[in-house]
């Protein structure tokens, strides 16, 4: 260093001289680069001086801001930025204080240039990782000011855009700076997020509707684009406990800015949230929307519909992640709203006349719009379907059971049956309210059902679901009964046959035309039908003889019958179905039958259509021949006994009630035909007798079959040749069932016994140990299955009314995990 020639100027400390030297005489000339390098070098090599350099620069900046010498202000900030980047030392900490004070100073100015300048420096700073955290530092002012800038309302469009962009970048910078270091500022605090989130949304929405050409500027320079990525950025960083501090301001913003209807902006926002939120937390978003729906309970159906529609949109994004630990809570909430909307409709808008919050009072005063309620209900059902769609199948069953549990049931079976007005013991019909609720809930159930793929009937129809479903199938209201049939269709139909069946309303000439897909029923399904077939038959019969039936009912029930035949119609089950058809024919011919002619003809038509289908499916020549002969006769002399069915059309008063014998199907001919192809027809000789004996549901024929089926099970497991000796031959017992099961060909039971013994022996002789073990395993599985079924019915029969409208405090999303009932029911679902 040269000697005393520097004495005079060195009255000032060296660092000050270095700082002064970077400022040119004319600010227009910009930063003196060579001197800036010297200053930087000095600062890097004299870390301890950094602090003072910062202080001095800040001092100069203060003065320049005050004097509005913008050129020098810019130079100061450039210098600060460079020093900040160059010095990664411990003493940076103190320097940062000076730095932030200067940024603060610039942001306080009401000159846009200075605000933008300050923001840019701040953004650079936010990208630096500091070695040591400074606990006392706060960003309150920065956040407040940046949020304010995001709402800048300058008359000059370009200034407005620039300041808003700066505000967004600034907020992004604060988030970036603080989010990684929890010891510093907790950016997730609501005081911050309540400023940050609305600022993003305001900018996103400002540009949302404008369709100005995006040609001239970079998308990143558009506030709406930047705001969108800012929001996603925040969402991506949010840990579980912080999600609510982001989503709640979103909901509030959409409320205040009335952005639910139309909902395209809200959908955009929520899609953004769903795409960016950490995938393991995706399920939280739908929950918040559901809670919000609850808060809007008293609001217009329009708004509620919008929210529900958004739910539907985002559920698809979340895929299996949308449901989370409390599946039932979701469905429960949706069903609750469905229920309330129905109540609202029933009361003509009076149900929620008491206002709770001031904000909603304005809206509830609007006049009640039934159509809007209906649209809302449809949206709920759609959304229920969307949620169901992402559930694994076993949960869909649970959900269907859950919905079933909410359907108002006829008080008991007797009331169902006796309700029919024409019935001698007719009770007063149930209220319109129940019907509407049943209608809506069953539609929801149907929606879930269509998303479900049946593998085995026994799994699809656990007793606690099957029973109430069948009960509902014979309810008075014909419209609801159609829905129940549709539920049965979608659950029984495994091969998309139902559309084809529906499409065919007449007599099929060639079954191949229908392109039905048939496969042989599995043993499990056969077992299921052995157990429940009689119940099916009873309900189908009961259903068909209802005088209120519309054409739709007949068509739907025919489809159910046809599906049973296509999906499960083997051996004795097929025979049972034939028996049912003949019983229906008998019923229609009974002179005591009080049904209107239209309905009698409809039953005859269904019988014809059904037997024709069975004939074609079994392709037994003599059967087909008899059936087509009768059909031909009818075509000639009584076309009204053939489909297509239409009970709404009037029949001529001259139409005969009685039906000539050659127009009827004959049990003998059919029986013969079936026997000729090896079917066991003993059960056909014992006609199906329909007992309308509602009180003793459980003593109806089904119980017999039940016992039989269980015995058959046993029989197969321990093929003891001595079992079942003392059977009365003319009754349908386990023994006759067994015969069908084992051979289906031999009609001599002694022969059969022998054959069976041979089979067992054969299998033991010719199978390897492994095969036997495997066979034993499958049997075991079936036992297990049975056991499970029983346990199922035992544990689930008292339907837990999980529908109590308790909901967790919205401020604590953690509570979503703590709904014990659901956790017990869905342990597999618990993410945590």
């Amino acid at each position: 260093m040269p000697g005393c020639c520097n004495c005079l100027s060195s009255c000032k400390p060296r660092y000050k001289r270095l700082v002064d030297s970077i400022f040119p005489a004319d600010p227009e000339d910009g930063l003196v680069r060579s001197n800036m390098e010297k200053l930087t070098f000095y600062a890097v090599s004299h870390n301890e001086k950094l602090d003072r350099i910062g202080g001095y620069l800040a001092h100069r900046l203060d003065r320049d801001v005050y004097r509005q010498r913008i050129g020098y202000v810019v130079i100061s900030m450039q210098a600060l930025d460079q020093l900040l980047l160059a010095c990664h030392a411990q003493s940076l900490n103190l320097f940062v204080e000076s730095f932030l004070r200067m940024v603060h100073k610039l942001l306080e100015s009401n000159m846009p240039e200075l605000q933008i300048l300050g923001t840019n420096s701040f953004v650079k700073f936010s990208q630096i990782e500091e070695d040591t955290p400074s606990y006392h530092r706060t960003y309150d002012f920065f956040i407040s000011k940046f949020a304010s800038m995001c709402h800048n309302n300058s008359d000059h469009a370009e200034t407005r855009r620039k300041i808003r962009l700066a505000g967004l970048k600034g907020l992004q910078g604060v988030v970036r700076k603080t989010v990684s270091d929890e010891l510093q500022v907790n950016i997730w605090d609501t005081t911050y997020m309540d400023k940050i989130v609305p600022s993003f949304l305001f900018n996103m929405n400002e540009g949302f509707d404008s369709h100005e050409s995006p040609v001239h500027d970079h998308p990143e320079e558009k506030p709406e684009v930047l705001a969108d990525s800012c929001l996603r950025d925040v969402m991506r960083r949010a840990a579980y406990a912080n999600i609510h501090t982001v989503i709640k301001p979103v909901l509030k913003h959409l409320d205040l800015h009335e952005l639910w209807v139309p909902n395209n902006f809200a959908i955009k926002v929520f899609k953004g949230i769903m795409y960016s939120i950490q995938s393991q937390y995706r399920y939280v978003t739908p929950h918040f929307l559901l809670l919000h729906l609850d808060e809007h309970m008293k609001n217009t159906p329009k708004i509620k519909r919008s929210i529900v529609e958004i739910l539907k949109e985002i559920v698809a994004i979340a895929a299996d992640g949308a449901v989370g630990p409390s599946v039932l809570e979701i469905f429960n909430t949706l069903l609750r709203h469905l229920r309330m909307s129905v109540d609202e409709r029933l009361s003509g808008g009076q149900a929620s006349s008491t206002d709770r919050s001031a904000s909603s009072s304005k809206k509830t005063k609007q006049k009640f719009d039934e159509n809007e309620e209906i649209l809302f209900e449809e949206a709920i059902i759609d959304t229920i379907g969307a949620f169901a769609n992402i559930l694994p199948d076993y949960q869909k069953i649970e959900i269907m059971m859950f919905i079933m549990g909410k359907v108002p049931m006829p008080r008991d079976r007797s009331s169902t049956v006796l309700q029919e007005e024409d019935h001698p013991l007719s009770l007063e019909p149930k209220g319109e309210g129940d019907i509407l609720v049943q209608d809506m809930l069953l539609k929801s159930l149907l929606e879930v059902g269509t998303k479900y793929t049946t593998v085995s009937m026994a799994t699809t129809f656990p007793a606690s679901f099957f029973q109430p479903l069948l009960n509902m199938s014979v309810i008075t209201n014909p419209g609801i009964r159609v829905i129940v049939q549709e539920i049965l269709h979608t659950l029984i139909d495994r091969r998309d046959n139902v559309i084809k069946l529906y499409a065919n309303r007449g007599i099929v000439k060639n079954i191949a035309d229908l392109e039905l897909k048939c496969e042989k029923a599995s043993r499990q399904d056969i077992m299921f039908m052995r157990k429940h077939g009689a119940e099916f038959q009873w309900h189908i019969f009961e259903n068909l003889i209802r005088v209120k039936n519309t054409t739709k009912n007949f068509v739907a029930i025919y489809c159910t019958m046809a599906l049973l035949c296509v999906e499960l119609g083997t051996d004795d089950i097929l025979v049972d179905l034939v028996k049912l058809a003949l019983a229906l024919q008998d019923h229609a011919c009974d002179p005591n039958c009080k049904m209107p002619l239209t309905h009698l003809y409809a039953i005859h038509s269904i019988v014809a259509q059904y037997l024709n289908l069975i004939g074609q499916l079994t392709a037994i020549p003599s059967l087909c021949q008899h059936i087509s002969q009768v059909i031909e006769e009818r075509r000639k002399s009584a076309p009204y006994l053939l489909p297509p069915i239409s009970v709404e059309d009037k029949v001529p008063a001259t139409s005969p009630r009685g039906v000539a014998p050659d127009l009827l199907f004959h049990v003998d001919s059919i029986s013969e035909a079936l026997a000729s192809s090896g079917h066991d027809v003993t059960r056909l000789s014992l006609p199906y007798i329909h007992v309308q004996e509602p009180q003793n549901v459980d003593t109806r024929p089904r119980s017999l079959t039940d016992v039989g089926s269980i015995n058959v099970d046993f029989e197969l497991l321990h093929s003891s040749p001595t079992a079942g000796r003392k059977r009365p031959p003319e009754e349908v017992t386990f023994e006759s069932l067994k015969q069908v099961l084992i051979s289906g060909i031999n009609d001599s039971s002694a022969e059969d016994e022998r054959q069976k013994r041979l089979d067992v022996l054969h299998s033991f002789q010719n199978s390897t140990l492994d095969e036997l073990a495997a066979a034993a395993d499958t049997r075991n599985e079936k036992w297990q299955q049975k056991l499970n079924d029983i346990l199922d019915t035992v544990t689930k029969s008292p339907q837990t009314p999980a529908g109590s409208p308790t909901r967790p405090d919205p401020s604590t999303p953690l509570q979503f995990q703590s709904i014990p009932t659901y956790e017990m029911k869905f342990p597999e679902l618990c993410v945590y």
């Binding site: 407040s144 304010s148 005081t191 400023k195 600022s199 301001p249 009335e258």
Partner: protein, 198 residues
């Protein structure tokens, strides 16, 4: 090297159109802006005043009165040292809205906040709908000071903010006094002078 001794945050609230922005601009810039548009979100202004020989910096947050911005504006109450609740003396509606504003204050602001009630636009005397007595009664029952102003005529505008600055300064000093018996509280602001452009 701070350029002030005390920093206080003042937040203005009240219905849309009562003249909050005009009051702030009159105070900070000394002008009455023609055709002042509605505030969007929150605006920010700064003003440093001298009180008892000491520089006091006022950060003034001017909130939008429109209801749709309520969520962002409420988030500014929290850190306010003083709240200025403004209504328009020519509009009963803005006066009737005061209770709900107070409810918000209670909900979102710090309990230590001082609030001042301001009836603005007194220059429009012939259009007056809210009498001074009504306003006084309201202020009394809610334990607030009332000041009637005109941003247009610059009536009471400086006094409004300076009173606040004095009160806040005294509050801080009083709490300082608990530790060390020193300065006397300032009784009026005759000693007040403006300084610092922004």
């Amino acid at each position: 090297m701070e350029d002030y001794k005390y920093l206080f945050k003042v937040v203005l609230i009240g219905n849309a159109g009562v003249g909050k922005t005009c009051l702030v601009r009159r105070f900070t810039q000394g002008l009455f802006p023609p055709g002042q548009g509605a505030t969007i979100g929150v605006d920010f202004m700064i003003k440093t005043v001298e009180i008892g020989g000491e520089k006091v910096k006022l950060q003034i947050w001017d909130t939008a009165g429109q209801e749709r911005f309520r969520s962002i504006t409420q988030s500014y109450y929290h850190s306010a040292d003083a709240l200025v609740l403004v209504f328009d003396v020519t509009s009963t509606e803005t006066f009737n809205a005061l209770p709900s504003w107070l409810k918000e204050v209670e909900q979102y602001a710090s309990p230590k906040v001082i609030s001042v009630l301001v009836g603005n636009k007194i220059d429009l005397a012939s259009d007056r709908e809210v009498t001074n007595e009504e306003a006084e009664t309201f202020a009394d029952t809610h334990d607030m000071r009332l000041l009637e102003t005109s941003a247009k005529e610059s009536d009471n505008v400086d006094k409004l903010f300076l009173d606040i600055a004095v009160e806040l300064t005294n509050n801080v000093r009083n709490s300082d006094i608990k530790n060390s018996l020193s300065e006397d509280p300032i009784r009026d602001h005759s000693s007040v002078s403006f300084c610092c452009r922004t």
